[in-house]
């Protein structure tokens, strides 16, 4: 009896190995699946000899509707190119982790998104795209972020950011508040909203649990502090001679928001989606996010009246600004086995109608010149502030790779009372030196 049991177990083992040895999950594909059936490791040929389909791996860092749109376009590409299959993946919050491990093992996807780090982080892994037809049509605002002095074009910028804080237009109207263009005005507006609503409406909602909203605050106002005014510290930051004691004011302002009661109670444990919901339901007035939160908020309340404002100026006499930089991009791994297919994929996305579709899903300007994007409900704000300057996100240029997280975490510490603004600045400066030395 036991003999039979073991022969059975042995058979199961052998059977399962036979199954796995094929390594082909294609046999289990459900009819509902939109994924391309995966072939096992592709041969080293770059172009398929007639009939043999190539599979390219594509990874995007977007989630939600944006990711769905990208995937849909990828499927359209497949239909146009029957010899090429696309293995599309959008891992969400684990994207950067995965990419780092893949870089360490030299195993990158054929095509991937660079989310702002095309030059600094992914630069050495990217194929030069300067000979592509769209390379001459790069929009002037985004061009410096995706090219370098030698003329190398790192990625295709489909759209670009033009971001400032978002706000609930109805709330502002209700309490008679004008869009504040300086920090002093901003604090005054908060006071008005707080007293007017008897504390029911949070002036600013921050979803600090995810930590990146905190970093967003620092990014926004670092530009206002050190880059946009004249004179500014741009050169000092590029040299590494910046006087970090100047930076403490940002942490102090953040703490001020909390001590004055302008910030939501659960700033440390709320998430980005909570901020969207709070704005949509009229429980908060401002959020240091960007146009993307408008789309998110509309899902909760379709009647939400979302507005975008520029980043308020910090210093006397300075003008407010917008933050800009890469938004949706595609880069090609220079060691990819399927460079030609990857190039075709990227060029497909460079078509004006596709650029328009992606940019509109983000309510953002296109990255290629000559594409008209309808920004919908945000058009009036873009028009209103059309003359204001846009600066690339502070941390992508002036901070060494890896500082983003330091800003986020130290900001959280300041809000939690675990660090004073001075201590936070100390930590930030320490990490700055360490990371800079490592570059």
């Amino acid at each position: 009896m036991s003999r039979k049991l073991y022969t059975l177990l042995g058979l199961v083992l052998i059977l399962s190995f036979a199954l796995t040895a094929c390594g082909a999950p294609a046999t289990q594909a459900t009819p509902a699946a939109t994924e391309a059936p995966a072939s096992t490791e592709a041969p080293a040929a770059t172009e398929a000899p007639a009939g043999e389909p190539i599979t390219i791996s594509v990874m995007a860092n977007r989630i939600g509707t944006q990711a769905e749109l990208l995937e849909q376009l990828a499927r359209e590409f497949e239909q146009e190119n029957p010899g090429i299959k696309v293995e599309f993946s959008a891992p969400g919050s684990d994207y950067e982790k995965l990419m780092k491990i893949k870089m360490a093992a030299n195993d990158l996807p054929d095509v991937f998104a660079t989310h702002g780090w095309a030059k600094i982080r992914y630069g050495e892994f990217l194929l030069d795209l300067r000979d592509q037809p769209w390379a001459t049509q790069l929009d002037a605002a985004i061009k410096p972020a995706v090219t370098d002095d030698s003329g190398k074009v790192y990625v295709l910028p489909i759209d670009q950011e033009k971001t400032g804080p978002a706000f609930n237009a109805d709330i502002l109207e209700q309490y008679g508040v004008e869009v504040p263009l300086t920090w002093t005005d901003f604090m005054a507006a908060c006071e008005t909203i707080k007293t007017g609503s008897e504390g029911q409406v949070d002036c600013v909602h921050m979803g600090g649990a995810d930590s990146w909203p905190v970093g967003q605050y620092y990014d926004f106002f670092s530009t206002a502090l050190a880059i946009s005014p004249t004179p500014n510290d741009e050169q000092a930051l590029l040299d590494g001679t910046y006087d970090w004691s100047k930076y403490t004011v940002l942490s102090e302002n953040l703490l001020d928001l909390k001590t004055h009661g302008y910030l939501n109670e659960d700033a440390l444990t709320a998430k980005y989606t909570d901020a969207a919901a709070a704005l949509a339901e009229g429980k908060a007035a401002f959020g240091f996010y960007g146009p993307f939160i408008c789309e998110e908020a509309l899902k909760t309340n379709p009647d939400f009246n979302c507005g975008i404002m520029p980043i308020p100026a910090l210093l006397e006499g300075d003008e407010p600004t917008f933050a800009g930089g890469e938004l949706t991009t595609w880069g090609i791994w220079k060691d990819s086995q399927h460079i030609d297919a990857a190039i075709k994929f990227v060029n497909f996305f460079a078509r004006p109608e596709n650029v328009k579709a992606v940019a509109e899903s983000n309510k953002a300007p296109a990255g290629l010149s000559g594409v008209k994007v309808d920004a919908g409900y945000l058009t009036k704000y873009y028009d209103q502030y059309a003359d204001l300057r846009t600066f690339t996100y502070f941390d992508r240029i002036y901070l060494p790779n890896g500082m983003w997280d330091v800003l986020c975490k130290n900001g959280q510490d300041v809000l939690a009372g675990g660090a004073t603004p001075e201590q936070a600045t100390e930590n930030i400066a320490k990490e700055y030196t360490r990371l800079r030395a490592g570059e």
Binding site: E96, A104, A209, S211, L268, D274, N401, D405, D413, A416
Partner: protein, 310 residues
């Protein structure tokens, strides 16, 4: 098995006694763990050696270049104040969880070791959280601790009190995470103790009662000593798992606010991926390995010595 025998007999004609002696000796059995050994070497120890190497470099986790920095990472580790906080948290997660899990597990086991009707149902219910993926468990409790609309705050509101941001306070978050971990795994301890209690011969307890021993005396001098093997297993496993705690922390607080609720393992992950400081992360990993080994081995030998053989 007959095949084996006939094979042996035929070979025997050539090599005769030598082979037979080999298959009879205990040493030949050692061949049996070679597959396991092979797998360990390839998938664990070879990567581990490389991982240790990284702790002596300033690698950022992804680029092909890095350089050796000797003991710099370790020096930083011992001078940075955050390290101590993280080590303390780890100890709370490990030792705190173990304490609660075992105390409660034993209490539950003693309760269920009687002829209570429906005890199987209670046992099933208490054990159920164990099968939930820790990640999911974290999300479930997030719904409970949420500030806006969380289960606990709803109750507070109904009672007319102010809602509390449960996970927004560092030390409180650490203890809450410990509680969630306890909640999830105390079923394991309970089952181990239940099995252990059931293995204690009734005659011992009855004899003691006849001799006039009180309930507490029975517990201390009969039950507890005979439970030692169970206690050993439960405590050692709990300590190791508690010190390694990861998924629950990530899904509840992600180590926050700031760095306040990080354990060594979550801090490692954060440093590696977000902080781009793979060298330091590796150094922390080695520290973690040392700490867990220390606690695991000391508790094991301490408890083993007190076991009584049945």
């Amino acid at each position: 098995m007959d095949i084996l025998r006939s094979f042996k007999n035929n070979i025997g004609k050539v090599r005769g006694n030598q082979l037979k002696k080999f298959f009879d000796s205990p040493g030949s059995l050692n061949l049996m763990y070679i597959p396991a050994l092979f797998m360990f070497s390839v998938f664990v120890y070879y990567p581990l050696a490389q991982g240790v190497k990284f702790s002596f470099t300033n690698w950022n986790g992804y680029s092909p270049d890095y350089s050796l920095v000797g003991l710099e990472n370790y020096r930083y580790m011992f001078t940075d104040t955050r390290s101590y906080k993280v080590i303390l948290n780890t100890l709370i997660y490990g030792l705190g969880s173990t304490l609660f899990q075992n105390a409660l597990g034993l209490a539950y086991a003693m309760l269920l070791n009687t002829n209570l009707k429906g005890r199987v149902i209670v046992r099933t219910i208490v054990y159920f959280p164990v099968i939930v993926a820790p990640l999911i468990m974290g999300y479930v409790f997030y719904f409970i601790f949420q500030y806006d609309g969380g289960a606990l705050n709803d109750i507070l509101l109904v009672l007319g009190k102010e809602p509390i941001d449960w996970l927004g306070n560092g030390p409180r978050a650490v203890w809450l995470i410990t509680l969630v971990n306890t909640f999830q795994y105390m079923g394991v301890s309970m089952l181990i103790y239940l099995a252990g209690l059931q293995a204690i011969p009734k005659e011992y307890l009855e004899a003691a009662e006849i001799d006039g021993a009180s309930g507490f005396y029975k517990f201390l001098h009969i039950t507890l000593p005979l439970l030692m093997p169970a206690i050993t297993v439960s405590i050692v496993l709990n300590i190791i798992e508690g010190l390694k705690l990861f998924d629950v922390i990530i899904s509840l607080t992600n180590g926050g606010p700031g760095y306040a609720s990080h354990s060594l393992s979550t801090m490692m992950s954060d440093l590696f991926f977000a902080g781009q400081n793979a060298g330091f992360a590796a150094a922390l990993g080695n520290l973690m390995f040392a700490i867990i080994s220390f606690f695991g081995i000391t508790s094991l030998s301490f408890l083993r010595r007190r076991e009584i053989d049945l």
